[in-house]
């Protein structure tokens, strides 16, 4: 049977002393208090009849590493001798997407170098015949490593049974020895008491915040505006100047690059078209920009081309690229979780792009239909979040729905197209900003809190 170099974590033996974290920091000279290995504790609050589990985890050097697949700059690769998944920091652009797609929260952004960093399995120590520093530092023998046959590795379902781990198809190289049933938690002489949750939940720092990702929020909205205007123009609405179109698109790209840790390497974002949806987004959007600008400048938008007098293949191609851009953006965010609202989300870019196209083209009925769907899904999301005890922001919600309705009323009264369009964009901007604020990447910490709420009967089902 095939074997893999894997970490072994015995939950029965870990006392949560954090020596593995410290040994890692020391051996790898991890600067500034960052941690490549983290011990996360389930039930730190000591809720009765619920076990405390210390889960020591670094990078699990997955067989199907989602970080490597998702990385747009092709900076993540596998070391052949040790099987370690490594980051080439000379190629990394610091886009943080690997930290979003990793189910274990392993890659972390390094503020000093502007690139991502994570556990490298102590490849140097391993090559010299040593053990990873964390393993050497464990005082109880709870942490070990070795070459394990595939069937001894913890399966996707096995992961799900450990608080803090999601069911994942990534194939982590880890063997978790689950708690023995008789060692779950002590029978206590004290009466049970359920502590308040809210403040605990507030202590979890989200990976994605609007404060940091606002350039992305604006960039993606800009994409939908450009696609919407282009589609609308193709449907007969007034076409913008090709040069302006191109300039705005490039400005959007630059803005998007603004959130990178290494902006000078932004071009590498397109280096991994073969597997990374981020690279695909960039390349397809670039194609849309160029084709669209050419079409706007040289082509007569519409069923026939003034220059060639054919049915306009280039216009269709540009439109296809535009729609593909919207789809690829939505695909990138599939890994993120947003509580409430179901599968279709009011901030999905495809809906935004198509609605803006309809508005630009003056197709009021179509625009109203899409806006209606958006309004309903937005309202459902707010309702569900309220039920989960999450912030609803009623004033902002009223503004969002109010502007959407106002756009409809304005169109009904025959207001100029551009005025209606601007009102819709403002409404979408609110939604988009809220979307970035509410996006959650499921982390071991958030999964642990969810699990604890379920285990104590606080919440029966969490989306």
């Amino acid at each position: 049977m095939r074997t893999r170099n894997a970490f072994i974590v015995d939950l029965n033996k870990c006392t949560g002393c954090h020596a593995c974290e410290m040994a890692c920091q020391i051996a790898n000279d991890v600067p500034g208090g960052r941690r490549w290995r983290r011990v996360r504790t389930f039930n730190e609050l000591h809720v009765h009849n619920v076990e405390v589990v210390h889960l020591s985890m670094a990078c699990n050097h997955c067989a199907e590493a989602p970080c490597a697949d998702g990385c747009p700059s092709r900076a993540i690769y596998r070391d052949d001798t040790t099987g370690a998944v490594l980051i080439d920091q000379g190629k990394c652009i610091g886009c943080r997407y690997c930290s979003w797609v990793c189910p274990f929260g392993a890659p972390r952004f390094d503020e000093d170098s502007g690139v991502m960093a994570k556990c490298d399995f102590c490849v140097e120590r391993q090559r010299q015949g040593g053990s990873p520093a964390c393993v050497a530092g464990c005082p109880t023998g709870a942490l070990d490593w070795g070459d394990l046959p595939d069937d001894e590795l913890t399966t996707a379902a096995g992961c799900r049974s450990v608080p803090g781990l999601p069911e994942t198809a990534a194939g982590p190289s880890i063997h978790i020895v689950a708690l023995e049933p008789k060692r779950l938690s002590p029978k206590q002489t004290e009466r049970r008491s359920i502590p308040p949750w809210k403040t605990l939940a507030d202590r979890i720092i989200p990976d994605i915040t609007l404060g940091h990702e606002w350039p992305l929020a604006v960039f993606t909205l800009l994409i939908s505006i450009l696609v919407g205007i282009f589609l609308g123009s193709c449907l007969g609405a007034p076409a913008p100047d090709g040069g302006v179109f191109l300039a705005v698109g490039i400005a959007g790209l630059l803005l998007g690059a603004f959130h990178l840790g290494r902006r000078a390497r932004a071009w590498r974002a397109a280096a991994h078209v073969r597997r990374s949806w981020l690279s695909r987004e960039i390349v397809i959007f670039g194609a849309f920009l160029v084709l669209g600008a050419l079409e706007l400048h040289y082509g007569g938008l519409g069923p026939t081309d003034r220059v060639t007098e054919h049915v306009d293949l280039s216009a269709w191609l540009a439109m296809a690229c535009g729609i593909a851009t919207l789809l690829s953006v939505d695909h990138i965010y599939r890994i993120a979780n947003i509580r409430g609202g179901g599968i279709f989300h009011s901030a999905h870019l495809l809906g935004t792009g198509l609605m803006l196209a309809a508005v630009w083209a003056g197709a009021v009925a179509a625009a109203a239909a899409i806006a209606g769907i958006k309004a309903v899904s937005y309202w459902r999301r707010k309702r569900d979040r309220g039920r989960l005890g999450l912030p609803v922001r009623p004033r902002l919600a009223a503004l969002r729905l109010g502007t959407l309705a106002a756009a409809g009323v304005a169109a009904w009264w025959g207001a100029p197209l551009t005025v209606v369009f601007v009102i819709v964009v403002v409404s979408e901007l609110i939604d988009r900003a809220e979307y970035y604020d509410e996006l959650e990447i499921p982390t071991p910490e958030s999964l642990m809190l969810d699990e604890l709420k379920i285990r104590t009967g606080e919440v029966h089902h969490l989306q």
Binding site: N12, K13, T15, G16, C17, H18, A19, C20, E21, M22, A23, Q25, I26, A27, G33, R35, L45, H46, V47, H48, E51, V52, A136, G137, C138, P139, T140, G141, K182, R183, S185, P186, K187, Q188, T189, E190, R191, S193, I194, P195, P196, K198, T199, L200, R203
Partner: protein, 669 residues
Amino acid sequence: MRVTIKDGRLVAVEPVAAEGASPNLATPEGPCLKGLSYVERQHSPDRLLFPLRRGSDRRFSRTTWDEALDEIAERLNRVRSEYGPQAVLHYAGSGTKGLLNGRSLDFWSLFGGCTTTYGDLCWPAGLEATRLTLGENKHNAPWDFANARLIVMWGKNAAETNVHQMRFVYQAMDAGARLVVIDPRRTETSERAEMLIQPKPGTDGFLALAVARLLIRNGNVDSEFVAKHVLGFEEFVAMTREHTVEEAAAVCGVPPESIAELAGLLGTIKPATICAGFGMQRYTNSGATMRALIALVALTGNLGIPGGGWVYANLQTQVFGGVRDPIAFFPPSKPADNVRVSVSTARLGRDMMAQKDPPLRFAWVERGNPLAQNPETHKVREAFRALDFRVVVDQFMTDTAREADIVLPAKSMFEQTDVIGAYWHPYLQLRPQVLPCPGEVRPETEIFRELARRMNLDCSKLDEMIPGPGDAEIRAWLERRLKPLGLTLEDFSGGPVLAPGWEEIAFVDRIFPTPSGKVELISAEAAERWGADTLPRAEPPLESAARPDHDPAFPLQLLTPNTKNRIHSQFGNLDLIKLHDEGPELQIHPDDAAARGLTYGDRVRVFNSRGEIRVPVRIDAGIRRGCVSVTNGWWGEQGAMINLLSEGRETDVAHGAAFHDNLVEVERL
């Protein structure tokens, strides 16, 4: 530990393996957090590298050794001529251990004498209870823990304070052993236990005697062992009848069924080990409590057998001194010529101020941080400030060092060769010098030698008492100490060495060096030496929520346990440690928090009639209602001097410090 030095820097601390010529069977896996963090501690930018003198503006500035030592010598001469040598207080903590580090008293005897302390902050009541009952403080080898079939961790949180012991706990459990933990807090140690009994703090004696009563009633006493090796069984049995199990359960605040369950396990599973922590013996009733606990091991015949016993302190490596602890903590019956042993460590501040003929004028503090660690900080500070002059020797600018007139930089354990023992495992170890002293740091031996020369003391015996600076001189001095034990430094070249005369199974020969030669459940010495009851009769502590007459204004029992992240007031200043422990927090039960309108993270005032501290709240459903907890050892600048709240009280025996007789109230700031 094995350390790696690269380019003059300590870069790694790793364990010595369990294999080889000198195997390390006690701690072969990784070091603890503190051990690992030496890589930072050794080279910390906060380390004191030069002598410091405090100016009139109370700020410290660098001075030279010559100036510092000249001034100290001059001050000492003046104090001695004006008041006599005993106006000097010599205070030493246990920051760095070793044979050489005990040499400072030799200097003070050359000086003509001094005043010093008796008692100890750490563990004397438990030591004395053990000595009175079993005759000696020793226990089975650490690895023998794995042979136990029942482990009762009584007030001990080994996962934080003795993490290497947990390996043996889990080995025992893998072989089928049962684990019971008794602690007011749900700790990491209790997490894998089958039962956690959470008595009111300080009532463990009631719990133990109730268990004893049930053992006797259920016929679970090892009558053969008791008949041969136990003194006072009849009297003890009569005493256990003074309280019913239900009465004891009410005092302890635990269900009688849980007591019965514990008695059932202890009565039927053998070998059983009771492993006791130190926190439980920091009450005013602790001597009696600990004696009652040891009685359970004796009644069930769990002494002198593999996997059984009373695991509290293993002083089998104390092979150099004349007397072992706790005797060494007591004021000597025949005082040494000129050393006045008159200040109780537990009452340091008020005893310092109470000294007369002569009063104290000068203090020398080394290896300790009494402003952080001794009870009633405000009195300790007052006493220090009332002196004419203070010298503190330390590696860092501690709360105590900040009170000094002159601070002298202390060496680290990597900067002078020494031989060290242990509290738990039976190994003696050579701790060779692996790094030069940084900056202008000088080892304490050199400080004393320099002072002696400056003060024209009789230096003819100096070299014999305190070796010279070179490593060769130190090693020669150590060789002379090792020789009577049949050891040479060469024996340590491969790793740790088992202490001469050590026993893997303590008391295996059933020889108990008590006055009667038996396990003394009744102890005449307890009464003679301490005025205590001859029997371990249970009483609640003086300041305890378990006393019906306690002050209702302060309903919460404050526990000040140790943490895995620090050793008392050491290590908390390191960045590596701060990552895991940012600052003091008050652990409080959700119900007690709700009653005071507190939520997670709220800042509160923790106060009693003695003082107050201000800390954030950490809600913890695992702590017993009515108890709150803040780990001890924080410095003032780190956010909480916990001993502002404690009273300077001695334990019932052995001059320990009863820190945990401490009731407080909590309110939101």
